[in-house]
């Protein structure tokens, strides 16, 4: 047991730095994914010709193929047609494209879940489509969407581990590298698992705070 503590003490700086990358990936993909997901949801709800169909294919493809394959295609596949990314860029791109597909579906469902009469009420006051969406529908949809958006975002935190396969030293690869030198997989993998868990738990607290805030602004 003492040796484990000593080991973790030595490994700690590497794991924390890896965890930093993990948080970095998760946050950037989260912000970009929410923006892209909202755009995709809007295009599909507004039934923009061509774009809506393209968006549907994109969502289906992203949800229907493994993230690992998507990462490989972007990092190892695209260079053969002349498109090359740094590992960090490729990782962010893959995570963003993947999570945005899931987020867009949650948002689309939530927007559809707001009563049609709320649209009519907005229109009846002279608000146009976008104003009604922005000021009437989206705020209500957000409240409906938070639980399922949070699910995707928690998955995202864990999915960042997959970008370790393209040489990005996030938490997972950092752990592997320490193991390669110390030959102590159990305590180190457990430590990595604990860090993922803590990150997810922290995010759950953020989710609850957001839910509470939205609840307050929607009192019954």
């Amino acid at each position: 047991m003492d040796s484990w503590i000593e080991l973790l003490h030595t490994a700690w700086p590497f794991l924390i730095r890896g965890a930093g990358y993990t948080v970095f990936f998760a946050l950037i993909a989260m912000v970009l994914g929410l923006a892209l997901g909202f755009a995709v949801a809007l295009v599909r709800i507004a039934r923009v010709p061509v774009l809506a169909q393209a968006a549907a294919v994109y969502v289906s493809a992203m949800r229907g193929t493994p993230l690992l394959v998507q990462i490989f295609v972007i990092y190892y596949g695209l260079p053969s047609v002349g498109i090359e990314f740094e590992p960090v860029t490729a990782g962010i791109l893959a995570l963003t494209l993947n999570v945005a597909a899931y987020l867009s579906e949650s948002m689309r469902g939530a927007i559809a879940g707001v009563s049609r009469n709320q649209w009519l009420a907005g229109y009846s006051l002279g608000l146009n489509w976008w104003q009604t969406m922005r000021h009437v529908i989206a705020p209500q949809a957000l409240r409906l969407a938070v639980p399922s958006l949070s699910n995707s975002l928690i998955s995202l935190i864990k999915d960042t581990s997959l970008v370790s396969v393209i040489t990005v030293t996030e938490l997972m690869l950092a752990t592997k590298e320490v193991i390669a030198q110390t030959f102590q997989p159990l305590p180190l993998y457990l430590a990595a698992a604990a860090i993922y868990w803590v990150l997810s738990a922290l995010f759950e607290r953020v989710q609850r705070a957001v839910e509470k805030k939205l609840e307050l602004a929607h009192r019954h």
Partner: protein
Amino acid sequence: MISIKNVSKWYGDFQVLTDCTTEVSKGEVVVVCGPSGSGKSTLIKCVNGLEPFQSGDIIVDGISVGSPKTDLPKLRSRVGMVFQHFELFPHLSITDNLALAQIKVLGRKEDEAKKKGLALLDRVGLSAHAAKFPGQLSGGQQQRVAIARALAMDPIAMLFDEPTSALDPEMINEVLDVMVQLAHEGMTMMCVTHEMGFARKVANRVIFMDKGAIVEDANKDEFFGSPRSERAQAFLSKILQH
């Protein structure tokens, strides 16, 4: 003010409105009644273009609702509408419910819009509730806020789509009182309602609809005194029984 000319509407093969023609003059109060499914809510929603129609036209203050060139949001901002289920925005305070469209559509300044909203809230007897959210108010209060919200846009006419049908009986009168007051002030109103007491008190004309068509369009005394159509007679005898 509102001129409905030969309006017909279909949902697929099903015809919901058949050749509806009528007129609401400035300052006039017209009550639309009829059995459920008779198309009265659909007709009133056609007036501000919330429901599209396939043939005929509706002219509101000289502007054609059916024309694809019409700026519908602008037209709607000039015609107030009150819905059966109030449709306040649940995520906004009463103040913000009243101010939103004034700011976004009419371009009023925020403090100006809030002041106007508060004045109208006072008029419907609810100024104490300005900071609350819709869910904290009773149905009758919410509907009065909805009327104030529509009035805040300075509408040239008001459309009411069964404004009291979703209310508990003890709350109906507080809403009708506001509507009566509006009528007395000379507001042009088209009201889908079964409140025949309201119709008797303030309506100039009563329109009776059945199966998507306007069956009877008569001035109030004529309608209540001696409705010409059998269907209107049957309808009246049913709802005036008690």
